[in-house]
Symmetry: C2
């Protein structure tokens, strides 16, 4: 892949990922729903700004989407669905061989439906969601799990390599999403478990520094312990990953599991806590804010 | 501490821990409920074999216990409780300043009751449970979390250092136990969550190698993912830590939390799964065998 790359969605993650594509030497055409964001970004980083998704598709060999949910991705790529997008979708200008790479986190079934819409024009889709928050997006060290036909993944790989450190082709279309959803459901459970453990520790008089140290060194250790225990203890919810987005991912994971006939009770319990968090108006904060729900429930303050 | 050390309980963990004390140059007097086990061990490692816990107490400056539960520890150290021990307990021969170090995992409240029984003779107690299974007991790289008076902990430290890599004095008597119970409850939840995640992955057609790799590199990572996912996937339940013992620890953690008025719903869910595992006759296997319960529930085989 050496041609021009399109990037749609310059949010917290997208803007950092696109900057790494520029750094790696890719010529970019960008589009953002709020046009002023795209204008500013284009000026700063040296990228063309398109006035519609279709214009991005017309100018580029590959189009990346990094959006909030499946409805937005569907709107931008094929123009159907419930979300209104400024200007015609990528499909309008799509031609044989156009490669779309969706790096958003959406339902695998939605990914497959969007691929059908693109297929009518001969365009291809790879799903390539990421893990790692804003700092790793900035460093270009994201983990990227991709689903799609092997030849499509091979074409996407040089582009993905500019944004990620670990690239894993996990299987056919939609499987990147499924792996991402399962990962995030596990992360949500592990984080909520750390929160409950800290509260039990606090109330039984345990030294929480010692507890963290012992758990980190042994069988209780987890990425979430390392990343979220300090945030919970200091009640610092600076957003790395919004509670609302985590809730969305856990819910999608549960829906896919249920459709396949497999229960995931730990994730269901995490969903209840996150849902209560959103009800308390914590949706825009980092999901470490789930500690607030559990503190209120238990009457214990960390 | 340079005097003779007593060691009571030469099971999977205890025999390996005592061997490291010998390697570090400590003279040992050992006792085991099944006397032949102690005789063999004493012959192989060069240790005196006592015919009762009281005899161990009489010969040593410090006495370590590594037993299955609080009733056994109480029986061996103070002679009360429901368990019959061959010969009189350590308290019979205890004198001012005898240091008892209980490395078993028992309820913190039980630890404090036993300490009162020893206190009548001027003997001191430190609780020093461990994390890390047989291999780390063998290498002398256990994590040891100790509770007790600072001066008692200081006396215990050289002995503990021969068995562990990370020693943490976590607070007053009983707090070593509390930290251990919380750690194990978190480990049980994380392991059961990995199991449910693998089953959802299998049923939705995900490549489980890729799933493991992605989770290990990111927010879904945990010690339990690393240690137990391979065992679950290969259905290899070679015992590193018995399901029955994990169930005991999770239950104790819940009881302490409940007594303090703090719920721990994730641990309660793990307890249900482990209890069902014991009901299926898996109690003596490694707790990775909990996957069997979840496979039966979901009708999915890894």
């Amino acid at each position: 892949m050496s041609g021009r790359v399109g990037f749609i969605g310059l949010g917290i993650m997208g803007s950092r990922m696109a900057a790494n594509l520029r750094r790696a030497g890719f010529e970019l055409t960008v589009f953002n729903r709020t046009r002023s964001t795209a204008e500013e970004w284009g000026l700063e980083h040296g990228a063309r700004v398109a006035s519609s998704p279709a214009e991005v598709g017309a100018e580029c060999d590959a189009v990346i989407t990094m959006l909030v949910d499946g409805d937005q991705v569907e709107g931008v790529l094929v123009g159907t669905g419930s979300v209104e997008v400024p200007g015609p979708p990528v499909r309008e200008s799509a031609r044989e061989g156009l490669l779309c790479i969706d790096m958003s986190t959406i339902a695998p079934s939605h990914t497959r439906a969007i691929a059908e819409g693109l297929d009518e024009r001969g365009a291809r889709l790879v799903d390539a969601p990421v893990t790692g928050s804003a700092p790793r997006a900035e460093e270009g060290t994201l983990t990227i799990m991709a689903g799609g036909a092997p030849e499509d993944y091979e074409r996407a790989r040089p582009v993905l390599a500019a944004m990620g450190e670990l690239l894993v082709h996990v299987g056919p279309l939609g499987q990147g999403q499924m792996v991402k959803l399962i990962n995030n459901a596990v992360a949500a459970v592990n984080a909520a478990t750390v929160a409950q453990a800290l509260l039990v520790g606090r109330r039984t008089g345990v030294d929480l520094d010692a507890l963290e140290r012992v758990m980190a060194a042994g069988s209780g250790g987890s990425a979430m312990l390392q990343l979220k225990a300090p945030a919970m203890r200091s009640h610092d919810y600076t957003t790395l990953f919004k509670l609302e987005h985590m809730l969305k991912d856990v819910r999608l994971c549960l829906e896919e599991g249920q459709a396949a006939g497999v229960p995931f009770p730990f994730a269901a319990l995490a969903r209840e806590i996150l849902t209560a968090g959103r009800g308390r108006g914590l949706g825009d904060l980092d999901f470490a804010a789930l500690i607030e729900v559990l503190e209120a429930d238990s009457g214990v303050r960390l």
